[in-house]
């Protein structure tokens, strides 16, 4: 486009210069002819023509650079408007200024719409957060009073069983509410993740120690292959949580006849990869994406407890740290969850 328009300018210049020269030659000829071939007049006219040509040329040059400047200014103006920087032209009577104002109005309008949508979204998230938070205290009270009730002397066996069930269900509700709070805080960005380049081994051993007794109970062997020097840019507390969620699933979905969980940590240029491989029931290929969605529960896991938050939370934690999670699996043979954390 630029090259094209430059050559068009060239043609326009050539035509106009040619016409100008022709007219001027005619004029000089005519003037010298009428003054009786006076060479002095001829030279004076020629000088006059040269002067005119010079002036005209200078004017063209100035106009052209002016035009280029305007386009450059417009470009800059657009960038400023998009980035939300203040007005460049101020309030002047120029066309450029009015264009800038209109453009800014347009940018403002579209960003207002965006903000509105964003505000609605975050108000819903805040509502969830509030509800979860407000349920915490009553729930703690329920747990407390159930405990007290259980200690009341002279209860019959049936009452005790009911109390045990209430306790059981309250504990579940308590866990759910805590997960919801964590989730909504992560989503709304209330929790600041402090990612630092630190060894991963701490997070791995931390998560394993939390799950160890449950794994041992089911006869599941856990193997860790992690070089203590392998680094990742992460927040150890949250990575531990993410790993724990994955390990918990690995234990939950492993058969009762034991099994094996292998944790492998491998560093690479951009990302450090943690693989958690289990020998559990596996996940069907069609569900590989869906399992990370909020409240998604595979129809095959109906017999297992859970609400479908763990993997969602894990993915949120990883995304917040600039990481990534994926899964691959063979039905009936096991699943491999791969976590990628930035290594730079």
């Amino acid at each position: 486009m630029r090259i094209k328009s430059d050559s068009r300018w060239g043609v326009i210049y050539a035509i106009f210069t040619g016409l100008f020269l022709l007219v001027m030659l005619g004029y000089i000829g005519a003037v010298t002819y009428y003054t009786g071939m006076d060479t002095a007049v001829g030279w004076a006219s020629a000088g006059f023509v040269m002067l005119l040509l010079l002036l005209g040329g200078t004017l063209m040059r100035v106009m052209k650079s002016e035009a280029t400047q305007t386009v450059t200014a417009l470009n800059e103006m657009m960038d400023r408007a998009i980035n939300g920087q203040p007005l460049q032209t101020g309030y002047t009577e120029s066309e450029v200024s009015s264009l800038e104002h209109r453009f800014i109005r347009y940018v403002e309008l579209s960003s207002t719409h965006e903000q509105k949508a964003e505000a609605e979204k975050s108000s819903i998230k805040a509502l969830i957060s509030d509800i979860s938070h407000q349920t915490k205290t009553p729930l703690t009270n329920i747990v407390l009073y159930t405990d007290l009730l259980g200690e009341t002397p002279g209860l019959d066996e049936e009452a005790r069983q009911y109390i045990a069930r209430i306790k059981d269900q309250s504990a579940k509700l308590d866990w759910l509410v805590h997960s919801l709070i964590k989730m909504s805080r992560l989503e709304t960005g209330i929790i600041a993740i402090r990612a630092e380049l630190t060894p991963l081994i701490g997070a791995v051993t931390g998560a394993v120690s939390q799950i160890y007794s449950a794994a041992e109970h089911k006869g599941i062997e856990i193997a860790i292959d992690c070089d203590p020097g392998t680094l990742a840019r992460h927040d150890a507390k949250w990575t531990t949580e993410a790993l724990f969620n994955l390990l918990e699933n690995a234990v939950k979905y492993s058969g009762s006849s034991g099994g094996r969980i292998a944790i492998t940590v491998r560093g690479s240029e951009m990302f450090t990869r943690i693989d958690i491989a289990d020998t559990g029931i596996g996940i069907e290929e069609g569900e590989w994406n869906a399992i990370f969605k909020r409240f998604y529960r595979s129809p095959k896991t109906a017999e297992y407890e859970g609400v479908g938050i763990g993997l969602y939370l894990t993915r949120e934690i990883l995304t917040a740290q600039g990481g990534y999670i994926k899964v691959s699996s063979v039905l009936g043979e096991g699943s491999v969850f791969s976590i990628f954390l930035p290594a730079l």
Binding site: E269, E285, L344
Partner: protein, 230 residues
């Protein structure tokens, strides 16, 4: 909101008896910010489809709209400008200019267009791709993965409507391929960048939001791996 719309696209080579139907009536819509993988074996027509989307080749029949513009309705000159401004290409063989350093390669399309470089945007992309320390290196001093990351930065630097990736991990080992895919996925989310990638590798395609399968110039049923709709 759809950014790419393909209607009944056909591309036939040859005439009469010996006609080869590279594309045989493909319709596809891609939304803004979506990361779509087009999977097919070699000869399935996936490369031809990508070339059509990028305005590198003209169709026998059918239309392609990018950002509402009918790209086959443009003349060659406009098509060239369209490709420079609205499409970012990522190739299997990186296609970096060997005598320019990484940064110069990244901003080359912007400078070709004669527009000023949005330094902030370019720096964000460079940061996201972990190239901050490599910007002054020549391509020959970079590993394959790094070269492809430079090529990705170059494709995104112009803020194109759509990024087209042609087997972006074809020359990389599986570990590096995985990294490049994760980066593409993260960039797509971070910059709400629409990306269409073709590959023959199913595992690579898993990272995308949606997988479209092509067989013999037609879209095969989408019910499959990861093909759970969006």
């Amino acid at each position: 909101m759809s950014i790419l719309q393909i209607d009944q696209l056909k591309k036939y080579y040859g005439k009469g008896e010996s006609v080869v139907k590279a594309l045989d009536g493909i319709s596809l819509t891609v939304d803004r910010g979506e990361f779509v993988a087009i999977v097919g074996t070699s000869g399935s027509g996936k490369s031809t489809l990508l070339h059509m989307m990028g305005g590198l080749d003209r169709a026998t029949e059918g239309k392609v709209h990018v950002d509402g513009n009918d790209i086959f309705g443009m003349n060659d000159e406009h098509l060239t400008i369209f490709r420079r401004r609205s499409v970012g290409f990522i190739f299997q063989s990186y296609n970096l200019i060997p005598i320019l350093n990484a940064y110069e390669n990244i901003v080359l399309p912007i400078e070709l267009d004669g527009t000023p470089v949005d330094k902030e945007h370019v720096d964000r992309i460079i940061g996201a791709l972990g190239l901050a320390e490599k910007v002054h290196h020549l391509p020959s001093n970079l590993s394959g993965g790094q070269q492809q990351r430079v090529a990705i930065a170059r494709a995104l630097a112009t803020k194109p409507s759509i990024v087209l990736a042609d087997e972006p991990t074809g020359n990389l080992d599986s570990k590096t391929s995985q990294e490049v895919m994760i980066l593409l996925k993260q960039l797509s989310e971070k910059f709400n960048q629409t990306i269409v990638m073709i590959t023959h590798n199913e595992e690579i395609a898993q990272t995308a939001d949606r997988i479209v399968r092509i067989e013999d110039g037609r879209i095969a049923s989408r019910a499959g791996i990861g093909g759970v709709g969006r």
